[in-house]
Symmetry: C2
Subunit: 448 residues, 2 copies
Amino acid sequence: MNQNPRLHPDDLPEDSGELHEFFRDSHPADIAELMQRVDEEAALTLFLAIDAELQAEILPELGESLRESILERLTHDTLVPVLNEMESDDAADLMQELQELDEALAEDVLADQHLDQELREDLDELLEHEDDTAGGVMAREFVAVGRTMTVDEAIDEVRHLAEDREVDDIYAVYVVDEEGRLLGLVSLQRLLLARRGQRMDEIMDPDVISVRADMDQEQVAALARKYDLVTIPVVDVAGVLLGRVTMDDVYDIAHEEAAEDISRLAGTVEDVLERSSLMVVRQRTPWLLVGLAGGLVNALVMSRFEADLRALLSASFFVPVVMGMGGNVANQSATIVVRGLATGELQVKDLVPRLWKESKVGFALGLACSLVMLAVVWLWMGSGATAGVIAIAMACVITQATVMGAFVPLLLKWVGADPAMASGPFLSTSNDILGLSVYLLLISTLLT
Amino acid sequence: MNQNPRLHPDDLPEDSGELHEFFRDSHPADIAELMQRVDEEAALTLFLAIDAELQAEILPELGESLRESILERLTHDTLVPVLNEMESDDAADLMQELQELDEALAEDVLADQHLDQELREDLDELLEHEDDTAGGVMAREFVAVGRTMTVDEAIDEVRHLAEDREVDDIYAVYVVDEEGRLLGLVSLQRLLLARRGQRMDEIMDPDVISVRADMDQEQVAALARKYDLVTIPVVDVAGVLLGRVTMDDVYDIAHEEAAEDISRLAGTVEDVLERSSLMVVRQRTPWLLVGLAGGLVNALVMSRFEADLRALLSASFFVPVVMGMGGNVANQSATIVVRGLATGELQVKDLVPRLWKESKVGFALGLACSLVMLAVVWLWMGSGATAGVIAIAMACVITQATVMGAFVPLLLKWVGADPAMASGPFLSTSNDILGLSVYLLLISTLLT
């Protein structure tokens, strides 16, 4: 926990009036960007100089580490008015972060009598769901109408939500039955063009695509992309409408998941740009230690072949190229498979055909590279036998690396682990050891 | 070009009535998915069994290679009705693919008297823009209204577009002046809740965020995400409204760009899952040959140190670990920088502070790893001097690799190249050579 004292709204700087005016003309996302670029104290000063409504819009736009620094400096007197101005999904995200940072403060906030009653109920519902599920990203601000309602009545419901809760991103109304179960959807365009007296069940689209609250957020984003959805209703097991996910959530999910995949492929962490050097070192070190351990195993493998290497030192010259090529093809295969699994274009049941295809590809790639090696080594070393054996070893290592690169992520997926998680440094390390052993064994058996 | 004969609508299978009925109940995206899973001839049969309206919705959803196979088999009699049913952006994308596949056929289609006049004009405008710019992804179906129009008149304009051109994804109307310059935006929610007699300039949001037609599509998607935009107006240099980009385009751009970044980081190509083995081999080989050439340079470097290696063979045991670690840290740094540049969180002007931070991180990582190496090698080899030199070499290689990993993508960005493009195998290869040279030079100078 931060050692700085918690700040109160009364700690505002003197010239806050001017600042306030300046900020009123800027988009919250731009103010957030500015805050991200100045130092932490300055960002905090700016933040305290603006009113709760704007604070509520800025907080969700900030990077996680700056937001946490700010949360650590606020009291519940400051937090409650901000939460009251937030949309329910942003409020739930903030509460979740607060619970992780300071359990007691989070409880104080939830127990505060100034917390809006409707928001409290929404938070109760939203905080029940896992972070990265449809329920975890959905908002509770939606318009639900009965099937016998007229267009005029539905418009009144839209007005009610828009004005009472200041919601400005309504794209559709949802038609539900008496138990709140989702029956259909009427887009605002449809509502605008319908005759005033028409009933909802006359104009609704009954083939509405909805998602269960426990669906993984990545799948929700994939559905939105597949069916071009601007808003996706979220339902419970009984089909009762719980909330909605909108296109801005889909943007964020897509961004987050792509960053996650990329980071994991490289064995780094996310949000690394905004973290301190020390944290970066701490987070990158474990992966590197795995790599280091693997590298030492490699050294051990090579030392077992000391006599062979002494007899044919030139074989050691080609260790880097054989291992490097194995690493390259394995990384290519793994990337293709990890991405395919992430986007749903590839399933675990495709395992066998996939591996068969990768074997063919791997064999062809290995053959191509080994022919180049054969020519180069023969010309260089003047020994056809050495060249031939090194080329064969190269072909074997590349074929094996290609198959392994495709197999490891599929295996991880199959046992329920995240395929991207382990396939970076983990794969390259195990692959190095296997490739080096194959290479040296072949050299040792065939040449010395 | 495909050897199969071009097909005519009369070549329909006998049972097409039944198929048609089955498909009418399915979502176009699902039919496209099904077509993607059967073989090409079956997909073509399915495609010909449905009417032009559904064909128009399915074609944009197909993978590129299947769509091209289908295009290669259609005549312009079949293509024109399909184009007439398409939204302008999908039609423009299709025409562009057709121009690449078969210039003459594309000209036939554009000259066909049955091609809708309005669509022809839209295509003339859309085909002028680069593929991956705002102008290249925008659609021409939008509602533009004058500033003095009333709400009632604007609703009539919406109805006009919705009914005449079957557009069902209208989220806002754009307010323009006499020259067509964008003045503001009125969301459908606003329009629905306004009084019937209110004028557009009373209810419009004048701070509308628009993009120039030549803006890179990745930036358009970043803006949509930053400002939570469901629709983004596209304007020319004079501010004249040309079209609009909607959230479904943003979904596709985000997906495409993430796949591109990931593929390039690994030196593979996109859409690799749906391509034939032979094509995959052909596309992966060039990158591997770069790696192979680099690897052979490594062999050459090692051979220059033959005498030293013969004197201290154990130094060669640690070549894989030193190079592997260098590769790991470089890859981590490069991934962080490439992703930061892609999302705009990092700019070239951040070069110096970024490199300074990476140097500190690299030094710390190098120190951590070299301490482990020192202990292990000392215990194993029993020589403090050998262990010390290998550890120092390791620290140098890791520090240098970290900085290089961050520097190369920034350099590429600065000279205008794609940072992701070259930083995979290119980086690892140049890094291997540099790292190996540093390691062997240190060993040679200090130990033998």
